[in-house]
Symmetry: C2
Subunit: 137 residues, 2 copies
């Protein structure tokens, strides 16, 4: 009886584990088959006060608010790396990299109230913005 009861216990545990693992598998599949959408939106910000750490932190704070927009598949906030060659642009203060499923989702983001609020509240910080929108070839 004891042996039987141990086997039943293991059985229940493994079934629960399998249920959890199977629930996770679609995430795994989508992460590898279609990494993060077809549309890459990369924005570089130059600040009015490039030496102001406070202004840079403020801009980053603003970008963080945008992450709530659900159409975004991946978001990364960066700053220039230490690399330094002739071809490398290092004058910007903040890099804002987004992946979207497609052009339409990116358009939703552009017109989203959170995005419009961001522009309203933080655009006084930047002197220049360059945007590179690309789609996978």
């Amino acid at each position: 009886m004891k042996k039987q009861s141990r086997r039943s216990f293991l059985g229940a545990g493994t079934i629960l584990s399998v249920a959890g693992a199977l629930a996770a598998l679609p995430l795994l599949g989508s992460a590898f088959k279609k990494p993060k959408g077809n549309f890459v939106h990369h924005v570089y910000f130059w600040l009015h006060n490039p030496d102001s750490e406070a202004d840079k932190a403020k801009l980053i704070e603003g970008l963080q608010t945008l992450k709530k927009i659900k159409e975004i598949r991946l978001a990364r906030i960066g700053q220039p790396a230490s690399t330094n060659r002739d071809v490398i642009e290092r004058g910007y203060a903040v890099s804002w990299l987004l992946f979207f499923d497609n052009l339409d989702e990116q358009e939703v983001y552009q017109k989203h109230p959170i995005h419009l609020k961001f522009v309203e509240n933080y655009s006084h910080l930047w002197s220049k913005v360059i945007v590179y929108d690309s789609v996978d070839v």
Copy 2:
């Protein structure tokens, strides 16, 4: 007896499934906890012959060879999207976006024989390159 033997069969099946699922979990974990390294290397290529689809295809062929470099965590080849606003740069022909774990891995990529071969074989195609290297804030 029949009931017992069915339970044993299910037990074996679930144990195999759990083994497979556990093997997959580290991949899932790394994909979500640390999306794709800390270092973003984004290169934009302008062509000598911007209207040449053949030259563009040739450059893309060259970039494809770079994907074999194992330090690359994510690679995407893009072309300008249809978006068109004042702040959007659309003059480049090809976008080459890479994620690395860190600066050191990116340096390995720069000096990799496959990368040096790429520059040797394909650099005649481009007239200008702009590189943005950024690290997560």
